[in-house]
Subunit: 345 residues, 2 copies
């Protein structure tokens, strides 16, 4: 960005910045009674139950601005919170957002971030109803709280899976992690030889999965349409292994998982081979997939079978049987919670 | 704290830390259907409207750990959010909290912070129902979102004051700012001569107002009991001037304020004189008082007159008359939004 397109935030002041960032908001939900601009927002859920979740994202810990466009960051920050609302079988309706940033960020940069926020709000039918903007001594900090609604007592917890239930997952797993490997590699090359152009040819799928994930609104709508309520559900943010272990521990059950059933995209498989890593390991221990992992009674199987976005990957067992994976070679191994951070090391 | 009482957070892991911090939670509100431990919390407001507000607090910007005990910081972080809920004429019921901290913080330090959080939750009858813990590259970051409830359409905005309404404020103003001056002075002395003990003798009132503020739950309960609904309301976080200007601008009115009516504590007056500053300037332009500023129709005056915690400080006028203060000397001056930051310079 040329220097003459840089507007200092200080030229607006805090209240001017808030006015600027929120002036084009159009409320999409009747439940958003009062939005931005007062001490708090007011929401009327008309007899539904309210679902709430929060995330704190810190530059250098959760994202690297060297390869994350601010617009994508704004979009993703919203999506990861909405994913938690969908994972309760609820529909997100409002968000509040707090951001902190140092004076290295210009108004144009903050605008880009908010463009992504608003794009996500529009796509998912969510209203931004409040927030807080502040300075930080270092880096960019994002706090998002999402609110949703659910028909009373129709929410789905992690702890209510039953023995014999089928374990299912939406979409494909492990791609975001491989996308991260590419971006980290290119960043390293760039740091060592700044003249070299990034070589990300053909990897737009895995990189897109990392930088611009989507939340599985369609799956929750499908459940409503088919009148299926999962017995337990969680979203896949830390990696498949970690999430399966959450459901098993909280439901006091074991699980048998089949490697050959884990949904892996062809693009991810090819990309993983370039790094000489096992695609299954990426699916199990990568993360940031934002797919939905859920269990259903076997009697509901017929309702799901025609949805190509849903894979049955195993079933729930007695807790004494532990949490195991049957590999393609026929071996049986315990599933361990390695997650994203482990693979990163 | 002796080094042998230090427990590294890494010995617990993220999920272990969350379990540790949330294991003693007892739900206080029937509306808290599902609390900590799933993708999101579930709240049932039983036909009431939901009120939501969020704050992001950053070390070095909003607080200085050199003179802020972590327990007080936890308490205050909750209180400042509850204050925003009360300022809507609503009752807070739940909070979600995200914290980010670098590895210089031990488990004992995080425990202290949470002790303050839980003390505030208990005092105000609020449930902690969710959150996020993460690492930060530098310093301590706190994000709190508070949820409250209000009888449908009984919430109070900033923008609905009427011409002729009385302008009222709870408690005393300006003390937290003077408390900050003392602590900053002692910090400076300590940095220059580490052996010198702090001289805060007799200043516990103003320092207490800074470090451990309370939200005015009592005033909202008083309104309900007397069946008074303010015509507009805001909490005093940035200083009286700034908040008056918000109400005037948003309600499209002017205001006449009387210096002699501004409630100033004797302890604050004496403390301000030690710094040779004007107590009225502290009340107008200081901040972090967390009192409630509100307007009521003149016809409601009789209901408030016996409450010694409420002062009438002026009245609302036509917008053309501007926002002015009549000083003790009889002069008339425009009220400007200087706020906390201005005085700090």
């Amino acid at each position: 960005m040329p220097e003459n397109n840089r507007t200092e935030i200080s030229s607006l002041g805090e209240f001017g910045l808030i006015d600027h960032l929120t002036k084009n908001i159009e409320i999409q939900n009747a439940s958003s009674v009062l939005g931005v601009g007062d001490d708090a927002a007011v929401i009327d859920h008309f007899g539904k139950q309210t679902v709430i979740t929060t995330d704190l994202l810190v530059e250098g810990v959760h994202f690297d601005l060297a390869y994350t466009p601010l617009r994508h960051l704004g979009y993703k920050s919203v999506v990861v919170n909405l994913s938690d609302i969908y994972a309760m079988n609820a529909i997100p309706t409002q968000i509040v957002i707090g951001i902190g940033f140092s004076n290295r960020f210009s108004l144009e940069a903050i605008n880009e971030f908010y463009e992504g926020v608003y794009a996500a709000c529009e796509k998912y039918g969510v209203d931004l109803v409040g927030g807080d903007t502040t300075s930080s001594q270092k880096g960019f900090i994002i706090s998002i709280t999402a609110i949703g609604e659910v028909t009373p007592d129709n929410y789905v917890k992690r702890s209510t899976a039953k023995k014999g239930d089928l374990l299912c997952v939406s979409g494909y797993l492990g791609s975001a992690y491989v996308g991260l490997l590419f971006l980290e590699r290119e960043k390293k090359i760039f740091m060592e030889s700044p003249g070299v152009q990034p070589d990300l040819e053909g990897e737009s799928y895995v990189i897109g999965r990392l930088l611009k994930p989507e939340a599985r609104k369609d799956i929750i709508e499908f459940f409503a349409q088919k009148e299926v309520t999962p017995s337990a559900m969680i979203d896949v943010s830390d990696g498949l292994s970690s999430e399966i272990l959450h459901i098993c521990k909280d439901s006091n059950l074991g699980c048998l998982l089949y490697e050959e059933k884990i949904p892996i995209a062809e693009e991810m498989k090819n990309a993983a081979y370039k790094f000489e890593i096992d695609p299954t390991a990426c699916a199990l221990s990568g993360g940031e997939d934002y797919e939905l992992l859920f269990t259903i009674p076997q009697s509901e199987y017929d309702k799901l079978v025609l949805n190509e976005e849903i894979s049955v990957i195993g079933y729930m067992t007695e807790p004494e049987q532990g949490v195991n994976i049957i590999t393609k070679g026929g071996g049986k191994y315990p599933v361990t919670a390695q997650g994203w951070n482990h693979l990163k090391q």
